[in-house]
């Protein structure tokens, strides 16, 4: 039997901080030499009953998940409107934000009716309408080479017991390309829709070869409101498996399991010579099996844990690239 039972989400969330109503969250990759621009939208169409003008403000978190500060309103969006923000420029308005190094950024897209409120009652359907309509484009660019890349994704309700009774992550990403000039990094964000969230989430993972062979196991811990980058090259190198992995074709799959929270995984396949970088999100299980979830998901996670993570001691000092 699963350790916990999945319950349906509520229809009304009381005492909700509206800054988390429709967040857009992403890491800066300044330590890799990229600037960040984001296209953020108020995607609910004017004819929808949930259409409302929204404001945008921004909070920066340091690498330990500590809140550095927030901007005042930096944009307003009518229903259906969108805006492209130069995040590096907007950071100037965050008191105490460092000029370099890793940061996690959260854009708060908030209905104007709730601006200034710290606690409101939110119909779940209204929140989900806005989350589903969001598909913010996070664009990374590098000068002077002209490299530009990015990924669109949603960061809806996560790691919030009011919205989901179970929180786990299975990450399956057949995108671990490791060759001489190329590394693949996995960006793992630990986010929540409540300000007092304080759970550090651990992800255990394997890098598997094309035939399913097990190359290396490792783990990473991600503090709340922070991001960690896991370099596949470094994980393989520290396990003494780099040359073998490359000799086998340099391609494989990242298979990760978190039992105590949801992490948002983004893969970054980067040519270290040119700076070109491929960003993409992974796909949740419902993209494969449309009705997947609930207790079936919990049982599957237990089987996965038994197969890959139960009979081995957790590695000490996870060999991952972690923002210093």
């Amino acid at each position: 039997m699963p350790a916990s039972v999945a319950l349906p989400p509520p229809t009304l969330i009381s005492g909700f901080d509206p800054r988390f109503f429709r967040p857009c969250t992403f890491p800066l990759l300044r330590e890799l030499g990229y600037g960040t621009r984001v296209t953020v939208n108020n995607g609910v169409a004017p004819e929808s009953p949930f259409a409302t003008p929204m404001t945008v403000s921004m909070t920066a978190f340091d690498n330990a998940g500590g809140r550095i500060g927030s901007t005042p309103e930096i944009a307003t969006l009518a229903p259906g409107e969108l805006v492209k923000l130069d995040i590096d420029a907007e950071l100037a308005a965050v008191p105490g934000a460092p000029a370099d190094g890793p940061l996690l950024i959260m854009l708060h897209v908030v209905p104007t009716k709730w601006v200034g409120e710290s606690s409101v009652d939110i119909p779940a359907a209204e929140m989900m309408a806005h989350v589903r309509a969001s598909d913010d484009f996070i664009e990374y660019h590098q000068r002077p080479t002209g490299v530009v890349t990015g990924v669109a994704y949603q960061t809806g309700p996560l790691n919030d017991a009011r919205l989901s009774s179970t929180r786990t992550t299975v990450c399956q990403a057949p995108k671990v390309i490791v060759t001489e000039p190329v590394d693949t990094l996995f960006s793992l964000m630990n986010l929540s829709t409540r300000a007092d969230y304080a759970e550090t989430v651990r992800m255990d993972f394997w890098i598997l070869g094309r035939d399913g062979e097990r190359f290396v196991r490792s783990a990473v811990e991600v503090p709340p409101f922070s991001c960690r980058l896991v370099s596949a090259t470094e994980v393989l190198e520290q396990a003494g498996m780099l040359e073998r992995y490359r000799a086998a074709g340099g391609v494989g799959m990242f298979l990760g399991l978190s039992k105590n929270g949801t992490l948002v995984p983004i893969s970054l396949t980067r040519n270290r010579a040119s700076g070109a970088i491929a960003c993409d999100h992974t796909l949740p299980p419902v993209f494969y099996l449309s009705t997947w979830g609930g207790d079936a998901r919990l049982r599957a996670n237990e089987r996965l844990e038994q197969e890959f993570f139960a009979d081995l001691p957790a590695p000490a000092g996870a060999p991952t690239r972690v923002h210093a």
Binding site: Q172, K175, A278
Partner: protein, 261 residues
């Protein structure tokens, strides 16, 4: 249901399929390989052939499109490939565990990696399915699910592109449906109040067209419309429900970027 991806073996770009045996993640106790069925069409929508590959438990298929085309005897430089991952018997025996099993759909999303000769990579995850086809279903269910392929709505990308930096912009419009369809490919101001470029496109079943916005057009926007800093791509309408285009673009003299719209 099979997802479909665009492939290109021209313009200095190559394509490679990335697909894991995802059944293993749900039922790791099953030690049987799954079989990937691949179906290739060229840019005109002509069927080029099919192939199969076994994927071991927890294994992944990394298949160069050039290898696939050679195997089926195709010289297509562009087209689409659809994949349906057939579950082994041991997995099918577990389907009783699927929540609302009678409503469940099994799909095969995968990634296409695009790269150039110096290993600059781009990725696109699956966008839309091979409309009008369902594998592994009864005849009646298949008829029910494929008799009508819905057209999408008017669509504008949620990504804004920097108008003055654009040096190349190509929109790959794909008709995933089994019948001819038409749309208009366009580039618009951020608020869509101004049309910068439009071109009607008519496509046969399974066909695609890569619409390259003339470079002289790109170069003229910042002088003709200096107030427009950002532009967005649009299709009116999407040819299938989620049939967003692929986009190849370049800022200044940087490397190309290939992404979904």
């Amino acid at each position: 249901m099979a997802y479909t991806h665009y492939f290109i073996e021209s313009e200095g770009l190559h394509s490679r399929i990335h697909l894991q045996n995802f059944y293993s993640t749900f039922w790791p106790q099953v030690r049987e390989a799954s079989v990937a069925h691949l179906l290739v069409h060229d840019r005109a929508g002509r069927a080029q052939g099919s192939a199969t590959r076994e994927i071991p438990p927890f294994g992944s298929l990394f298949l160069e499109i050039s290898e696939l085309l050679a195997e089926i005897g195709s010289s297509a430089a562009e087209g689409t490939v659809a994949i349906d991952l057939e579950p082994p018997a041991g997995v099918r025996a577990q389907f009783h565990e699927l929540p609302s099993a009678e409503e469940a759909e099994i799909k095969t999303p995968f990634w296409m990696a695009y790269y150039d000769d110096t290993e600059n990579y781009m990725y696109v995850h699956s966008i839309d399915t091979l409309a009008g086809e369902v594998f592994g279903a009864s005849r009646l269910l298949r008829w029910s699910m494929t008799r009508s392929v819905a057209q999408g709505d008017r669509w504008h990308s949620w990504r804004l592109l920097d108008a003055e930096l654009l040096s190349d912009l190509q929109v790959i419009c794909i008709n995933h449906s089994p019948e001819p369809r038409s749309t208009v490919v366009g580039v618009y101001s951020a608020d869509t109040s101004r049309t910068l470029y439009e071109r009607p496109v008519s496509l046969g079943p399974r066909a695609l067209e890569r619409v390259r916005v003339p470079p002289e057009e790109l170069g003229s926007w910042s002088t003709r419309y200096p107030e427009i800093r950002h532009v967005r791509i649009g299709l009116e309408p999407l040819l299938t429900g989620n049939g967003k285009p692929y986009v190849i673009m370049r800022y200044a003299d940087g490397p190309p970027s290939l992404h979904h719209g």
